[in-house]
Symmetry: C2
DNA sequence: ACTCGATGTTACCCGGCAGTAGCAGCCGCC
DNA sequence: GGCGGCTGCTACTGCCGGGTAACATCGAGT
């Protein structure tokens, strides 16, 4: 998108501005190539700068990656928590959480091209520091949802967590799929369909005995 | 688990037996380290053999990985398709698909330790050959479900596909989470809970107007 | 028991890339 | 107006790991 390259090759920049620019360049390269296929040279060139400059701002490749990861982890986490806190109507909560995931994935507003892939599709899950951060996002969002589910259904904590994983996981997977499929239907419609699906599924728990065979 | 190493260092084996053994060793290493952190030396040592033997059976690291990927891709795909074909009762279909995912992930019967991670958590998604195979599994399972959903709900193809992604995605994510959380509840109970959630969600589509606010 | 080919081994090559040493130019400050 | 330090660059090192060349060993057939 933004060809930051050769616009200002050789120009001096204050530290904080340079840092932001490097992070932006790194994000583009990491997102489009993944961690392993991304060379530090690529990132430097992308930022219109040479490699040692990168090392003046970040001690190593992993640290650079983690800095990005942390930023976006806080972003999703905040969105989901706000989605739940904004109301006490559970149906609206379902709606808001779905919207949160779709907005996060669809970085239409921000220039943020595909930052969500760093978290949802990292190719560095075996690095402990990365795994810890990725797991943390999943765990905390799930628990935020599970708090409500457990409180309002009377299910055990384990049961509530399983259902919450189903709800947040579906939101994440569908949002990603919707984007990769080039937005086959409008965002609002996608959210509305999923909201109906999930609300019908979760709203009357734990009433048992919905036996109704046939197709 | 099975320390195939040094049991028979130096022993000659017929080609097909050796090949199976190499695939088994490769799977263990790829699963526990991921593609990038797995060295061909590791795999060879794991199989109690030296590196060139590996190259007598597979032209390169990627081919070895793809061979494993193909095997397990067919496995899940077959399980889900059978789950749908075994009945025409849609509620049982939901049950069967969930069971298919949980059984696939929980390789209790086979020695198959964590093979599902190769497909659901590959760290080589940027390699086109890998991406193609992983996408194919997701796409075909989704479409198999979407065929039924579209037929029985009257939704548009795009809408049916979105909901199908939600259903299969939730099955995949919850099964993986359940295993990683060390099976917090029995498999049958997890399936039953999710079956209820999903069946309530999907069964009466596309009836609109389930307005019922409040918590 | 000698040969021949399949099976294995040791020991190497070499390319890619993270990280670094040492040099060059720009700017403010006395 | 030249000196110091900050910003940046070119050019290198070192290592890890995929892939290979050349040599060794076993066993079947005659």
């Amino acid at each position: 998108m933004t060809d930051t390259v050769d616009a200002s090759r050789g120009a001096r920049l204050p530290r904080s501005a340079r840092r932001k620019q490097l992070l932006a360049a790194a994000q583009e390269v990491f997102v489009s190539n993944g961690y392993h296929a991304a060379a530090m040279d690529d990132i430097a060139v992308r930022a219109g700068v040479s490699k040692p400059v990168l090392y003046q701002h970040f001690p190593g490749k992993l640290d650079l990656y983690l800095a990005l990861l942390d930023t976006h982890a806080e972003d999703v986490l905040g969105r989901v928590r706000r989605a739940l806190a904004e109301t006490d109507d559970n149906r609206i909560r379902v709606h808001n959480v779905l919207t949160a995931y779709f907005d996060f994935v669809d970085g239409e507003d921000r220039g943020d091209s595909g930052a969500f892939r760093l978290i949802f599709e990292s190719d560095l899950g075996n690095e402990p520091a990365v795994r810890e951060r990725v797991d943390r996002v999943g765990r905390l969002t799930m628990q935020a949802v599970a708090d409500t589910v457990a409180a309002d259904t009377g299910l055990s904590r384990e049961q509530a967590e399983l259902l919450s994983v189903a709800l947040t996981g579906a939101a994440q997977i569908t949002a990603t799929w919707w984007l990769d499929a080039n937005r086959p239907i409008p965002k609002a419609e996608a959210v509305r369909l999923l909201e109906t699906l999930q609300w019908r599924g979760i709203s009357h728990f734990p009433l048992q005995g919905t036996e109704r065979p046939g197709g």
